[in-house]
Every structure is written in C-alpha cells, then in structure tokens.
C-alpha cells in the first residue's frame, strides 16, 4: 500500500495532457484489465519533434501520475531524445514511487515507445527495432 510523494499527488489531482489527439501521428496502447492498468498515449510530431502528447489511463494513482509526467516530459523533444526517456527518469521527476508501483512507470515508458513505434511505422514503414512492450 503506497505512500505517494507530493509530486505524484499533484499530478494525480491535476493530471496534465488528459485526452486524445485527433488525427494523431502515433498511438501507443499498453496494459490490460487483468493487471489493472491500461494506458493509451497519443503523439503529434512535426519535423521530428513531438509537439503534442496526450493520454488516457485506467489505473491507480501512480498510473495516472506517470502518464501525466511522461506526456509532460516528451513534449518538445525530438524522437531520438524522447526515446532516451526511461521509466527511471519519470520516477525521478515524480520524486519517487513506492516499490510496488514501479511497474506503472514501466508502463508509461512502454506507452510512449508504442506511440513512437506507431509513428515510425506510419512514416518510415519500419517500427522501432526489436520493440515490444514489457511483460507484466
């Protein structure tokens, strides 16, 4: 049972970038109801830069906060920069997560990679090399 940081609660209370993007350039969809967390991430890309990102999440406080933080972090980043954002970066930006909630940050990383994969497939015909979501 988690003790969340103030930062996590802030993002949970007022999550940034909630919603869908119409005609997105990439969509990532990860998780399933069995594990209790589902994330959808939408990105809009212009000149190789992520100009907008939004999410929809079914999940716990940590799932919502990591989604919110991840969308914050990627905005304005190039695709290459965005791919460097690890789940650990999200956790740090949130001032930490309880151990049993770390998997939520992995999910957020997966959702982003999924969206980028989708974007690359659409634009280059090839997705991220060897990419598939983590097993839960």
């Amino acid at each position: 049972m988690p003790q969340y940081s103030e930062k996590v609660m802030e993002h949970f209370r007022n999550p940034h970038n909630v919603g869908e993007i119409e005609n997105p350039d990439g969509v990532g969809h990860v998780g399933n109801p069995v594990c209790g967390d589902i994330m959808e991430m939408y990105i809009k890309v212009k000149d190789n830069v992520i100009v907008d990102a939004k999410f929809k999440t079914f999940g716990c406080g940590a799932a919502i906060a990591t989604s919110s933080m991840m969308t914050d972090l990627v905005k304005g980043k190039t695709i290459e920069e965005a791919l460097q954002i690890s789940n650990r970066a999200v956790v740090e930006a949130l001032d930490g997560l309880p151990a049993i909630k770390l998997h939520c940050s992995v999910l957020a990383e997966d959702a982003l990679k999924g969206a980028i994969n989708d974007y690359l497939k659409k634009t280059t015909g090839k997705g991220l090399p060897n990419w598939k979501p983590h097993e839960d």
Partner: protein
C-alpha cells in the same frame, strides 16, 4: 475539509466508554494478573469480569472464552490448535476461498506441513452451499472453517445450516468434525450466539466493534481438543500464555457490554443509512453493480463495482475530499493480484479492480451519506473521462 469515515470494516474508533474503562489499568491498577498479591488479584478480577461480558454477548460459558492478541491470532490458534492436536485422527480441513488472509495463509502453512485443504465452492454472492460439505468430507476431515460474514462483500454465511450438516455427519464418525467460524466481522455488529450457530470455535477481534486494537478472543466449546498456539506461562488456564493485556481485555469486555445493549439500534440505523447510500449511488452513477448478497449481508456493508474506473484512483480521489473507503483493487493490496474474494465469486479482473467498499458504523451520519452522494458521482465522471475503457460507452 469535511471528514467522512466509511471504513468501519477495516477498523473502528474506540468507544469513549471503552477508553474510560481501560484507563485505570495503565498507571493505577497495573498488577500482573498472575501475581498472588493484591496488585495481581485486582487485575485478575478485572479480566474475569471482562470474560463474563464476552461470554454473555455470545451466549457462551465464561470458561469457554480465551483472550488473544487479535482476530488473526484467534484464527491461527483455532486452525493450528485443532490441526496439531488432532493430526493423528486426520489431516483434512475444509474451508472456503473467500476467507480472510488470516485463515487462508494459516491453511497454506498447514498445507506445507502435511495437511490437505479443500475449498468449498461459493456462488456469485459468495454464499456456501451447506450440502456441499457432504461431497467434500472424507475420513480424514477434522475441521470445517467457514467465516460468519465476509469482510469485503458483506455476505453472511449459513452457519446454522452448516453446523446442522456437520452434526449429522458426526453421528456416524469416530473423529468428530469441528466447526470453526471467523466471526471477526459479525461479533458486536449483528447477533451472534455460539449455540444458535452451533460452532465449536469462534474468532473475534475487539477493534472491529469499538474495542481497542490488539486484543481478541477465541470461543472454545467445552471438550474441544486444541493445543496452545502461544506456548509459555499458565495464563488463560494454560491455553494462551503471556502476561494478559489487561487494559485491552477490559476494553474488549466493555465493548461487548455496549454492543449487547446497542446492537438492535445500530442494526436498524445502519441498514437505513446503507440503503440510502446504495439507492443514491445507483441513481447517480451508471454501470455500477452490487457485490455480495442483496439481502443476506452485513447492515454496515455496501460493496460496489464501478465500470471503467480503477479502485485506487477512486479511493484516492475520495480521500482528497476527506472520505475514507476501501477497495478490492490490486493496486491497494501490496500485491499485484486483486481481491481473491472478487475473483472467487466470479467477477472479472476489471470488476475487481473497480470495486469500492463503503462500510458504515455507529457514528455515521445522514450528512456524511449526503456528502458522499454529492462528491462521489463527479469523481467517477472525471476518472471515466480519463479512462480508455470508457470511450466506446460515451
């Protein structure tokens, strides 16, 4: 911020009269009940007085009450006590998949030590069919343990019928089958009489009905074979070692005395408030369903599954408004599995993850119910807007 506590099934505030009863036993009347001198005789008498009150609430004899440190200890004591004292007669135990962890984990421990456990099926309300016991019983069966009411979904099990089935089976058996019930969620909350239920062993915990935390009791019907769980001194007629928690025991006694008097009022009032809450939520929130039995349930309990939203996020959102509830979602349990109870009654993972338990108590007010009805529907709405599962529904 307004505060509204709807988690009485998790624990209750100690009754002011209970605290008052306990207080003299810290600084003033502090003797060890095992001591022969006056300081000891005084507290020994206090324990005895408490024992009478517990026995009175349960319709038991005072000699059948053993004080323990909690509901969990009573459960461990009952199961291990019977198992280890009767293993030569048989090593088979029957229970249910919706028991509290205090039962399930103890059964696992016993399974590792050579005992076999069969879990009775339960229906969609979590209800056991007493007749099933006949199917699962065998020559090795020494114990059946079925909880009196489920802590999560509130369903009350047909204990009297279960004990009838067992009594019939026992007529033709050499190794009598004992019946234990975990009554942690019922004692002090609905009428519980050990003879009407026909149980040999019954666990209770003080903090669930306005007594203090850290004290419980085990009812042990006369003649029931049971080895000690806590080994040591000769306290509790040699059945439970350790210097007695005198203030705690006095508090438990007082809580029983109060419950005996107030029970009828609590039951009617909680049923009324709970039903108001239920009707209000069902009117204001779509895709919501009740968990547990519609009528044979604890008056205090309202457990619902709300589609498209996850339990912890609802719980935290309610907490931000000062409302305390509980959920069967994995996310709150410290494990990654959602409530074993929800899964056992055939709910989907999604339903389990979306479950919220409101449990009411003697201090619950009409105003608190109104407050939840005002605050909760917009929370659900807001979280649903965020939920990818809700899309198709809009």
């Amino acid at each position: 911020m307004e505060k509204a506590y709807f988690d009485y099934a998790a624990t209750t505030p100690t009754h002011p009269e209970v605290v008052t009863a306990m207080l003299p036993y810290f600084e003033e009347k502090f003797g060890n009940p095992s001591s022969i001198h006056g300081f000891g005789r005084e507290t020994k008498a206090a324990i005895q007085d408490a024992r009478l009150k517990v026995a009175d609430l349960l319709g038991a004899d005072q000699a059948e009450i053993v004080f323990t440190g909690s509901g969990t200890e009573s459960d461990n004591f009952a199961l291990e006590g019977v198992a280890f004292s009767r293993e030569k007669e048989g090593r088979h135990i029957i229970s249910t998949p919706i028991e509290h962890h205090a039962i399930l984990e103890t059964l696992k421990f016993l399974e590792k030590r050579g005992f076999k456990v069969t879990y009775l099926p339960v229906d969609q309300y979590g209800m056991v069919n007493p007749e099933d016991i006949k199917k699962y019983v065998n020559d090795e069966t020494i114990l059946v343990s079925v909880m009196h009411a489920n802590n999560e979904i509130g369903t009350i099990e047909p204990l009297a019928e279960i004990s009838k089935v067992i009594r019939e089976l026992n007529i033709n058996r050499e190794n009598r089958i004992y019946l234990h019930t975990d009554a942690v969620q019922t004692v002090g909350q609905i009428p519980v009489n050990v003879n009407e239920l026909g149980v040999d062993l019954l666990s209770l915990s003080a903090h669930k009905f306005y007594g203090p935390k850290g004290v419980g009791a085990l009812y042990i019907r006369k003649g029931t074979k049971l080895v000690s769980f806590m080994h040591g001194g000769e306290q509790e007629r040699g059945r439970r070692a350790s210097t007695e928690n005198v203030p705690g025991i006095v508090g438990l006694g007082k809580a029983c005395e109060i419950a005996k008097k107030e029970l009828p009022v609590w039951t009617t009032e909680l049923t009324r408030l709970r039903d108001k809450l239920k009707n209000g939520l069902f009117a204001k929130i779509s895709d919501i369903e009740l968990n547990g039995h519609p009528t044979l349930r604890l008056p205090k309990n309202l457990d619902v599954s709300i589609q498209y939203v996850e339990g912890e996020s609802m719980l935290l959102s309610l907490d931000m408004e000062g409302i305390a509830v509980s959920t069967g979602s994995a996310c709150s349990s410290g494990s990654l599995e959602p409530s074993h109870v929800m899964l056992a009654i055939g709910k989907t993972h999604e339903q389990a993850h979306g479950s919220i338990r409101f449990s009411l108590g003697r201090l619950t007010t009409e105003k608190e119910i109104d407050y939840v009805l005002e605050v909760f529907p917009p929370i659900v709405e807001r979280l649903r807007k965020m939920s990818p599962l809700y899309k198709g529904v809009k």
